[in-house]
Subunit: 460 residues, 4 copies
């Protein structure tokens, strides 16, 4: 909570329901981005597309889906960033270049985007978006090779950063994960049809089988001749550990593990590390539920849904002039007095970013009668921003970057506060190779400088 | 699940934030109706209003709220019925009659609406909606008394059925609950300002205090002189027990009890009645969670969130030509394979209406690897439709009206199926006086004949 | 120019294209009202309807027309009055009353509307619009006769004012013109199908034959048994002479005469009365063209289109901060310098209401080089407002009500100004029996008092 | 009639009302394109823009205009071509390239667009529209010179065809007319502020003074330092003579002459060439009016507006199942029976393209009683399509490309038919240097091949 979502990519090759599957896949991946969505399909000759702001269920009508002809399609969900966001920035992007049509969906963030863009513009390129993703298209368009595989590998040699890509031409679907494999990308199959998806939960909805993760540094070329894999780079993998903590859906399989199980285990280890005597354990719903269940189980404390979540919350709410305490949080969460009144309560959440939400939750619980509130966080203190595609606040706004745990505890007015230890977290995920930069400042890809967002926007 | 929502009513008197509070109140009551909403306010002279289809968070903008002037307001959420529903039918209704302006919000259903309407039309009335609620306005407009209290009491003597009403004139707010008190209505207070709400959870959001339930057969007149109560009828109360089972929000206090606690207790008694050996207990989220927690606790079986709910589901989804198994349910629910695979699972849901959803859930769980699936329902078999304002299927469609428990078990392919007994349910609610007609066919208000819906619609 | 439009009524009985013909008829009558339109159709059982703000060509789609089933339909165009106009006020109105469905379209204005409404409200009626037209429905609903013809005649005995009505039940179409016949209404025929229309030009578009005018004080009942006429009142006819001057389309036949010919004759007689030496005669397009042609012909002065009209003008235009001279007029009219430069110009317009437009036109012509501008008006000075359905300014705003011709000439800065004489106008129309109240203050129907618009609006 | 409109370009530099003036200018030029419009403004730092489908009066609101900040702006109206037209193709186009922002509006058509585009794509350019106008931006972006003037002149050396361009950077406004000056472009001035407009009629509306035409092969650079002219090419001028015949507004000054006067003279010479005895002369409104007036004057035959035009016609009309004769034309034009009945009528129109409209008009006139209908066309037979920016039918569809005048007469069922001779037309325009290709097949710019429209569209 407090860290914004990122993006979802999806692609289908070889099924006449390609656009419809993509639409359902994007729906299943809606949690990764709610600001806008788009689908581009191909019938082998033309590209067809639709993009708009809003939820997947709102922007795609029967008519729209029917117009997205062909047996291949790619899609994208985008997270909400600034209000001024142009429709031009909504992915997938499509272009017509010397080899024909190409479309791209990107999850992640390049860290040398500014210098690439600068060189491209110097060389006569016209940019139509402010997105780093457009660089891929220009680099491809300028590449001299007439073999798309070679072109792609050459282009990937020039970009640095996090990218899980799904590309489409009129006769192929391509999946790419950056050399560190920072963002997820999975391969699925439904009959003869291949599917690429940010998370495996989308395969369930369309009844496809999960095949495997795309590997760090791997390109998958999917054509009517089948599937071909090439490894274009070899680095120590560093998949984002925060996907396990918060982003991914609990019903996804990520990097070989059930997200639900990993979260439960985080909660259990957290209980081992920082058990506290209390009457009940309650989660901050929905993301905190698995960890809270793990915590309650291990500590053998009664689990209750002491905070009710209202799922009808839209984009903006109009605050009354007579201001409501904890207004923003209250629209989403309401303590159930009959559960917490007179009780010592342990609240389990997945992370603390700014601390403001935790503070409001604790106040609401105390106003509802809780005698004591112990806060338990199923990840370590979040101390450093992500530069690989997660929309985090600046370091300044991250409360743990400048406050001790005790200072945070005081700020949020908890009776006690514990974070899961780094070791505990690594034990829960049972592997070593991860990007843990947000908790450790160990950035696997060196930053030249913090990227400057906001290249002038050729807006329309 | 499967029984549609009903309606929400709300009213505020004596606060310059009246329209904003009503908007927030309707948001908190969104679960009682998602099809359309409306607010009418008054500044003591004029009425101001806005009604539209959609969610509260979508249809009320800052500009709209600012235009709803004055220090009193009433609102209404409506459930989704047929697609052909006219905007004319969106409440609150307002009219100008001999005593000035009046507005009305109604939750419930009259059972002598047709004959009243017939008499009114014979007498020269022109109807503008197909709603039974319009009868109240015509009866008031035709009443000869020049005292609104007397008029109202006279009018209430003519209507039979379920009604929780919130009315507003330019200088008063009025709350009415029918003699049996079938639908809920609560009184709240925030400073000098009185609030009426279908459920108490709305008071929490606007930081008002819950005062008490409006009593069956009671009228509350709220003016600048304070609050006045009159009892207009005396019947044996028969509040709807299904509010406890499914409708009301778990964080509401209903008829003196926490809904969450009642549901948990239903689950606990269900466990006592029909415990079954299994590896895990899982709820059908969200409505089945409290009962499942009660069940798991009492049976001491491990509780898990084995079904993941997608909350982004919109109104309609476009099914692919290559049809997906259990499509409708799959959009909302996905089993978490890592939890259920290889396990004996007890699933707890609040009710079974048609049986189709349960059947799909059980199939999904088995496809995800569940060895056995035991279904436990935290209410008795639903055998008879509601005529008091709940949008239930016809008797024909209610699977329990014509099938034994064993037949239902076979239909839904459960390994075992148990419903909470009627006695068990009554024990959970700890009172005797309820309308339990949907479970018992004991209708507290005699039906003259099943009401004919669909009076010709003076549509526009 | 300057007098706003009024309304159009239309009806079709006995053709499966009824709704489509009504749509085309309303398009042909668009000049009589551009604010909003509506169509209601019937298939003998149900009513179907669509109403919206905007032009006929914008608001009716193929889908909408297809939904307007049946072989009878009525329609209405409404003129623009105030911005706050409710969609409730858009006609046709429909109601369900003791005899079944009825729909009504009304052109004209009742002068005893307030007292009727007052009595109806006292008697328990609930009003849903602020329109005087709703009175007809309530009076019908309350009438005790079970014969619609008798009911109607009884109701018409209670209302006073101007009304050309088209009514529809599920099995009949009814045309009514008030006893004075103030507003027009014509009967047409296309095969076995009867059509009622405010003006005959609509018959041309749908290839129906003009049969005759509906007579003052006549009701036409059109059913599957044919057409039946009843005379319900006998008064000296007083059709609106301003229809000839400005409202009606030049290609309509009104009261036995071609509107174009009458206007040309007005121009010719104006030339006889007030010829002036000039180089060219130019019209204020489009309404002034026929009179200008008549003037030019009779005076044997060269006719030119010296003012160019821009027909793309929408509802509102955004004025620059650096204000443009004669902004409003300039958006619609532009002088052609090459025609008027250095010339003595006679400008012919149909009427002067406030004088502001004439003043701006003359200034534009002089700025474009006209040496002298003589203004000739093809009707007498407009001195008194209309209370029979034309949206005229108040008397105060009518420049001719308080200024002599010489004073007006000075105000509009014309080098000379002449109006057609009353005798001249009567000579052009070749009949005596007309309502000429706007030119003479001789109101054929006595006003009790100037009607108060704005009964409190039970808005929705 | 029958030849579609083309485009309008407009630009303002040096006035805080720049966007508002552009909006009014586009309104005045609405006749040159009704499909879509756009404005881009600059405050010296950023670009601001708005583009949409629809009429100028519909798509620009007060809020939109206020957001178009700065003291310079350019705009564009586009004609309607295919329904599938992408919003991407709506001009002005903007881009960010090495020298900063640039925006462009284009009227005309390049004839070597395909080969330029091919080379650009080969060289790595990514196209975002199917418009030939985008070539200008890519050529500029790729040009190595760091002086915009030199860049532009170099780019203009590469393109062949018709182009009147208005470009804008953050600190300059640039007007360009191709070496042949095929499409018009005029310079205006309002105080210190310069204005560029397709036609001079737009200057009248914003009260700017007409300065002069931009010359063929001239570039005008307008900055805060004033205006600078460079001649970049010298060819025999060949302005489009069809602007005089049909496109331009009669109140515009084109190439030194009043459009109205030229049209009147065409009508007069037509009368000299092919006078015919008839009772009346009537125009096909609105475009045929000036020529008809010239014809009537010279032939001394009575002029009447025998065809009434309905200006409320929207985009599409729904035809009844019982088909109406001459449906499409009838929606726009209606004969006035009282004028034409029993008469011999001479109809004057500006041109005949397919012949279908003329045929329908003549049939309508005869159905309205005309004894004889003589058709007179104020331009020569239209025999060859335009490749310089006018949306003409293919040669195959041009009736005069394959039929003699007598054959056309028979087809349209006129009693006689005459076209203005080429000599007569040249006499009317009083100059020799024109592009008359549509009448003569003498194309001033050699076509390599007929351009292929429809490069694959990288649609979004």
């Amino acid at each position: 909570m407090g860290v914004h979502d990122e993006c979802a990519v999806f692609g289908v090759f070889g099924n006449k329901d390609a656009a419809n599957f993509t639409y359902l896949g994007l729906h299943a991946l809606q949690h990764r981005g709610q600001e806008s969505s788009g689908i581009i399909s191909t019938d082998g000759k033309e590209f067809y597309g639709h993009k708009a702001r809003g939820l997947v269920s709102e922007i795609f009508t029967k008519q729209v889906i029917e117009n997205l002809k062909g047996d291949a399609a790619i899609g994208h969900n985008r997270y909400s960033t600034t209000g001024a966001s142009s429709i031009n920035n909504v992915q997938p992007f499509a272009a017509y270049f010397k080899d024909g049509y190409i479309a791209i969906s990107h999850n992640g963030n390049l860290i040398n985007s500014e210098s690439i863009r600068h060189h491209l513009i110097e060389d006569g390129a016209i940019f139509h978006t402010t997105s780093d993703t457009e660089n891929f298209l220009h680099l491809l368009a300028k590449n001299k090779s007439d073999n798309l595989q070679e072109s792609l590998i050459s282009v990937l040699g020039k970009v640095r950063g996090a990218y899980s890509l799904v590309l489409m031409t009129t006769d192929s679907l391509i999946g790419i994960r950056d050399p560190y494999g920072i963002r997820p990308l999975s391969l699925g199959k439904k009959g003869d049809c291949y599917i690429l998806s940010s998370e495996s939960c989308a395969f369930d909805l369309i009844e496809a089988d999960f095949v495997r993760d795309v590997m760090p540094g791997e390109i998958l070329f999917i054509t009517h001749n089948g599937i071909e894999s090439r490894q274009f780079a070899y680095e120590t993998p560093a998949p984002c550990i925060f996907e396990y903590v918060y982003f991914a859906r609990p019903d996804s399989l990520l990097w070989g593990k059930s997200v639900y199980n990993v979260r439960k285990k985080m909660g259990a280890i957290l209980a081992e590390e920082s058990m506290v005597d209390s009457d009940i354990v309650i989660p901050v719903p929905d993301s905190g539920i698995p960890a809270a269940l793990g915590f309650a189980e291990r500590s053998d404390i009664n689990f209750q849904m002491g905070l009710m979540r209202n799922h009808y919350v839209g984009r903006t709410f109009i605050e009354p002039s007579q201001s409501i305490r904890h207004f923003g949080v209250k629209l989403k969460l309401n303590p159930i007095r009959s559960i917490v009144d007179g009780k010592t309560v342990t609240v389990v959440d997945d992370s603390i970013v700014r601390g403001t939400t935790s503070k409001k939750i604790i106040k609401m619980l105390k106003e509802a009668g809780a005698k004591k509130v112990h806060m338990r966080i199923s990840s370590p203190p979040f101390i450093s921003p992500c530069f690989y595609g997660v929309d985090t606040p600046t370091r300044r706004e991250l409360i743990a970057s400048s406050h001790t745990v005790e200072e945070i505890r005081k700020y949020i007015t908890a009776d006690s506060l514990n974070f899961l230890s780094l070791d505990g977290m690594m034990k829960a995920v049972e592997k070593k190779e991860f990007c843990t930069a947000c908790f450790t400042k160990n950035y696997p890809i060196k930053l030249e400088s913090e990227p400057a967002y906001g290249t002038p926007l050729p807006f329309l």
